[in-house]
Symmetry: none
Subunit: 256 residues, 2 copies
DNA sequence: AAGCATCTGCTCGAATTTGCTCATTTATGT
DNA sequence: ACATAAATGAGCAAATTCGAGCAGATGCTT
């Protein structure tokens, strides 16, 4: 090998793989290959070895961490959060810290934003959402909750349509937390449903700042309808796979 | 464009499905398909596998969670619904038969009206409510559901306040189904909360017909704020204790 | 320096998973 | 009860992943 990069010992790689797995609970061969700059063949060999040693659970496509029943400290929200992907929890936890007193916050319907609600502590801010389940969670946390009026889309239990957009007019949010199905350098933020896109579009336009919460799987994906260009939304994610995004807008990577 | 799509491990998908199910207690195949951006075929296969493992309850159209120990439907409003259960059921069952095709129905927040929703069969009518839980129930019955926008009152999870009233303007209901805390010959229909009273008042004014659903315990009670005089609302009850009411408005007694 | 063992990365056929189509079954409305 | 619509599962083709085999590189010994 002609490279001057220090050789990574096999044992060292094993430790790296295990620590990554410990954090993520599940990784693909491709992820490990990219992160460690090692060929997939070697990753496969390592995973096989580690699986034989009983250090991890090998599955088709990658590996999962062994189910450790170690955590007795898990309570309520944390318990549900651990069942949920760790990424969304980390993203939600960070995003929640961005809310300050007297903020007028819009919370978009979606799973990542729902996780965010569980970490909100600021009771002086005011919250508006278009998600029926989101509204319930806000209320259960004793927060100042408002819901957008309009037609409810059965699939996602989100308020959409013309009257929903009308409901948003005149509301000037200080911060909007949006979910998205796709993030792309040229297509921006996109979602499959046109009605939901219109609502998102209006909410973003009516907000002073926009934060898009999305885990790494949403990058380089393009859905049917774009609701905002890349530059208008700060991205909060667990891992940004490409610096082409940080060149075009603010990207905050939270650590797991 | 290199649409780099991040692989999601099968095991990971299982966890995601279970956590979503934990959150919502019931999901459709279509919902999971959209949430996880995965084909319905795969979702079906996953649900079958998870059902075989005994991790969830597979039903036609989707899946339901196993343990109903802690759910959104058993908190707050749903708990109080247990009082006068048989009476409310009978009242709701009858009231639901009053809804016809092309009706534009307003359903007030409250426990009796919530029971009413469970008996609605007409899918051609359109339904508007100010209750968050009511909206969820309407959606789960695949009905045309709209929600009023505005501030959510924590105790009853009902939308109240000025923007709620504004949300109602321009809506001309054919039928309104209202709950009430008190019915009195002189004070009319009354409720303890002034904000909720204002919403009720507006809804009644905007409706061609008004039905007040109330069990016998509500008669001869007067609460802080009157939202409608006795004559504007037909009363649907299990037992009317006094013919002074039937002299002043239409009273329908349903049998248990 | 040459020999040898080990590790790494690449290639390719086999195995697995995934998404689509379509006939059948199940639910809903008249 | 009948007709219509929706959901389901089996079958099939495409995409992805796996593992064995092979060649080059590295490090250690002679």
């Amino acid at each position: 090998m002609m490279t001057e990069v220090r050789k990574v010992l096999t044992e060292e790689r094993y430790q790296l793989i295990l620590s990554i797995l410990e954090e993520r609970k599940a990784v693909t061969v491709a992820q490990l290959s990219e992160q460690l700059s090692i060929s997939e063949s070697t990753i496969r060999r390592d995973l096989n070895t580690l699986a034989e040693m009983g250090k991890l659970n090998k599955v088709f496509g990658g590996a999962t961490a062994l189910s450790h029943s170690s955590g007795v400290f898990e309570t309520g929200v944390a318990n549900r959060a651990s069942a949920m992907s760790a990424e969304k929890t980390a993203i939600g936890k960070y995003a929640a810290t961005l809310i300050h007193d007297d903020d007028f916050v819009y919370i978009d319907a979606g799973t990542t934003t729902l996780r965010l609600i569980d970490f909100i502590t600021n009771k002086k801010a005011t919250y508006v959402t278009n998600g029926i389940i989101h509204a319930q969670h806000l209320i259960q946390r004793n927060l100042n909750a408002y819901v957008i009026g309009g037609k409810i889309k059965p699939l996602t239990e989100a308020v959409v349509g013309a009257s929903g957009i009308k409901s948003l007019s005149g509301l000037n949010f200080t911060k909007a937390f949006m979910g998205t199905n796709g993030i792309d350098t040229t297509a921006g933020f996109s979602t499959p449903d046109i009605d939901e896109a219109r609502i998102k579009e209006t909410a973003v336009q009516n907000s002073y700042m926009t934060f898009v919460v999305a885990d790494h799987s949403k990058f380089s994906k393009v859905c049917a309808v774009t609701f905002a260009p890349l530059r208008v939304g700060c991205i909060i994610t667990d891992e940004c796979p490409d610096n082409r995004y940080s060149e075009r807008t603010i990207v905050k990577e939270v650590k797991l």
